[in-house]
Amino acid sequence: MSRTSILNAVKKNKPELLPLPEINLNVFSEDIDLVKTFIENVQFVGGRAILLDSIKDIDAEIKNLYPHAVKMVSCIKESSLGSISISKNTEPHELETIDLAIVKGELAVAENGAVWIAENNFTIRVLPFITNDLVLVVNKEDIHLHMHSAYESISKRDRTFGLFISGPSKTADIEQCLVIGAQGAISLTVFII
């Protein structure tokens, strides 16, 4: 009933149809070094981005950066650091004590240091948030200039749950002092292969 009355009120009160604007993406194009810009922006938002020569180096790098991480979930086949295995049937609350998670990013965005990850990359939705530290892996050629290009690239996906992550969880709610590590992961490292 409320549905009908709301829709009727909208119909009665809305103005005459205005057109959707044409979007000319040329206005936003720039000839910049995507990898370099991406790395700078990840740093700007409180994360760390590292260029690796080969995916084979990833385990050594992680061990080096996170020497105390024990309970690890790896969602990429190239890493053998995973000590906890998860499946679709894993109870999300059990991930409470995870130290580190490794997730494949489908693409990255140079302009804001964001990485797009989708549910099929990490199986349990809460994983990238509940883990203490988060490691993302993206291919160099999957770095896009801006968000428009990123959305074009994910437009054909199977839509369940996905997100852009830009840096570690943070807050400035106490007197505008920036504190890294609010409710989600307290650190973020992005490896670019």
Binding site: K12, L17, P21, H93, R125, D173, Q176, V179, Q183
Partner: protein
Amino acid sequence: MAHADEAAIFNKDEEKVDWHDKALWFVRQKRDKSAHNVKGWETLRNLASAIKANVMSNLDNYLIQFEENAQKNGITVHWAVDADEHNKIVHSILQQTNVKKVVKSKSMLTEECHLNPYLEAHGIEVVDTDLGERIVQLAKEPPSHIVLPAIHKTKEEVDVLFQKHLGTKPSHGDPQYLTNEARKHLRDKFLKADAAITGVNFAIANTGGIVVCTNEGNADMGAHLAKVHIACMGMEKLIPEEKHLGIFLRLLARSATGQPITTYSSHFNKPASGTEMHIIIVDNGRTEQLSREDFRASLHCIRCGACMNTCPIYRRSGGHSYKATIPGPIGSILSPGKDLTKHSDLPFASTLCGSCSDVCPVKINIHEQLYKWRQIITKNVPQPVVKKTILKMAGRVLANTKLYDFAGKSARFMLKYAPRWVVYSKLNTWGKARDLPEIKDGNFDQWYKKRQRHE
């Protein structure tokens, strides 16, 4: 109490006001820096404005399309005409699923509907999980800013509050320590919650999905751990297509805090297996605002808070002085539409400098709408006698050259020779914290004529 009286109270602590003023101006500067880094920023603003105008002109069809797509994806869609119906729907979902503990991420809509007291009265625990919102919840206060809810609190005040409610040690307001303690406290709440309530930043008609943006990760911690996720949205949150997110997400965080994007921009399309997802579409006065040609564009707002950060009045009067869910310039054009008498002072809490319109990412003509509300309010709401009489007298004087000349002469004479206590009497509100400029002998007319003679 009127806005000016509330502001006077806020201004009693001069040091705090100065801090508040500078802290928000600093956020405004970060916004500028961030915006100037984007090639085509003004194009983004123009596009966002035009898309929102299209949305308003076709809102019924977009709502139907959105509902259809959301339902296809297994999401239950509810409709609420007002705050009361919204609260009842939330409560009935919680009852059906036997929920006793709820975690909630930031949602100005649920503030507008006063959802927390409603649920609490029905024996349900509601924990606000955004750090700033948790702070004001513990202090039993409303948020004073839509993006920075606890901007009016000092770190020492937070320290005392956390000692009392979270059992923390005195830390002289160490933000790192206090945030860590809040993290532990909220972790426990997330793990024990039966349901999560979130707001909605954008609802996408052509996919039926919603996007929720946070920096802390609190919306996701709640939504992905609980069995039930309820997302509450004002009907104006709709955008036509997913690709339009490219435009809005580029604008939102940069305008809000100067970040290039929020830490998390989560796209919810389908509930996870074994969980329920509900979306409540709320009107609560929005269709009425849609009918007002002059004020319709206020519904374009994406809640970035940039107009607050730049406003010289907001920065020096604090969010609570507005006595409205949404304070600041945008709140002052939204609130009179809900209750003209109650909020009749708000459109006057402005210098009409236009800075709000200049920074608005969706180009709402905020200062023009403030001016238009003033025209309506002076006709419909009784004005204070002093203000009315003074303006009437001023009108008469300004319309008559001789009278105007005489008034000018006597004013100059008075200001020069009358004792200070007369000039700075209670009637001179301008002179409360300022000195009047030095008084010259003649008026502009005389000065101009003299200057011409000398040439």
